[in-house]
Subunit: 225 residues, 2 copies
């Protein structure tokens, strides 16, 4: 078991006020240019870029620092084809009976259907698995706040992808159990999200949607003094 009270100083990175303001503004403006994309180019990407993106994601905080995630990186065309086939089978059922009228209506603006060509076009698929528990010598050790932790790591992942000038799709071909089988994952892992990564196609289009305004998502409880 781990040493108790082994602590080190943390020197954050303090910026002068004006620079902090500028950095925060530019980061927001940069992130605001991110869009979820479904039209991928098949142009290759250096593996090192994907490594850095996943390593960035893996710096995320997690409950009791358990880091309850595995990032599966698929570039093999045969495996991508298998994933596409299984995903399209599930999606066919989703679009033809399993999704409610309300749900189908909510998806209208995205123009999606059961066809998922991007699962073969995108040079990389990153499949994030969450671990409800760790297996240590066959013994189960519980992890904590697993959904929160893996969600946060995914947020860092999407930021890293955008930062590299690449695009992604947060995809959920449900139920996602087929990913567990195709990728031969251990029993303590469950697929969390499937994220194709690549360059946007030169002709890529995205739905003309707006984001909620500050007034719609932020509530202030201000110092009244």
């Amino acid at each position: 078991s781990q040493e108790v009270s082994d602590f080190i100083p943390y020197k954050g990175i303090r910026y002068p006020k004006a620079e902090m303001l500028k950095r925060s503004r530019e980061f927001y403006q940069f992130m605001d240019k991110r869009r979820t994309v479904r039209d991928f180019s098949d142009k290759k990407i250096p593996k090192e870029v994907i490594d850095n993106i996943v390593l960035a994601a893996a710096t995320a905080p997690s409950g009791a620092h358990k880091q309850p995630w595995t990032f599966c990186i698929v570039s093999d065309p045969g495996i991508k084809a298998k994933i596409r086939e299984a995903a399209e089978q599930e999606e066919y059922e989703n679009y033809n009976g399993r999704m409610s009228e309300e749900w189908l209506e909510d998806l209208q603006p995205f123009g999606t259907d059961w066809h998922k060509p991007f699962l073969e076009t995108a040079p990389y698929l990153i499949i994030i698995f969450k671990k409800a528990y760790d297996l240590v010598n066959g013994e189960k050790h519980k992890n904590y706040y697993v959904n929160e932790s893996v969600g946060i790591a995914t947020g860092v992942l999407l930021t890293a992808i955008h930062n590299a000038g690449l695009v992604s799709l947060t995809h959920t071909p449900s139920p996602m159990n087929f990913l567990h089988e195709i990728l031969d994952r251990p029993e303590n892992e469950r697929a969390f999200l499937l994220i194709p990564v690549g360059y946007a196609d030169k002709e890529a289009k995205v739905p003309n949607l707006q984001r909620k305004t500050k007034e719609e998502v932020v509530v202030y409880y201000k110092d009244k003094s």
Copy 2:
């Protein structure tokens, strides 16, 4: 209801290969310097920085673009004191009976206990609420992949905080219902995480932990051709 097939071209931000590599490497290295911090300075932060941080988070993708989140930003000392009091009450119970022996052992390296002074020291508390459904004229409209979506937004939030040279704690004083009451939130919202934000204290210390290596978190399914 929304227009069907209203699409616009998406011109991503393509970088030359060498620059993409450099950006991905530097982003990873920068994120790797982030640490969760519990020792906050009470130094004030411009509200505009907090605005930009939350706006960045709100650019996250979400199921059917429902953006199922509210960011409550608390700077009022009275409300912070109330939150601290309620959080410490819950944590006292957690540390004195509600958490298992295994859990308490897993927390040893962090040196945490039920005292939560940072809830008053940090200049801002950001409380993220998730919405399982939206209320439109009293009618319930389901949201989708709410935990995934709000988790991703939180990942962007933590990245934005780090990018500004500030520090954060992903805090879960459970059960978190008291936040719903103190902040007077509507019935469709549930507290997801409580995140104190500020400068690290000059004397801040963090546990001497390591992150898992690439080999421990990444699995490649490579092109065998």
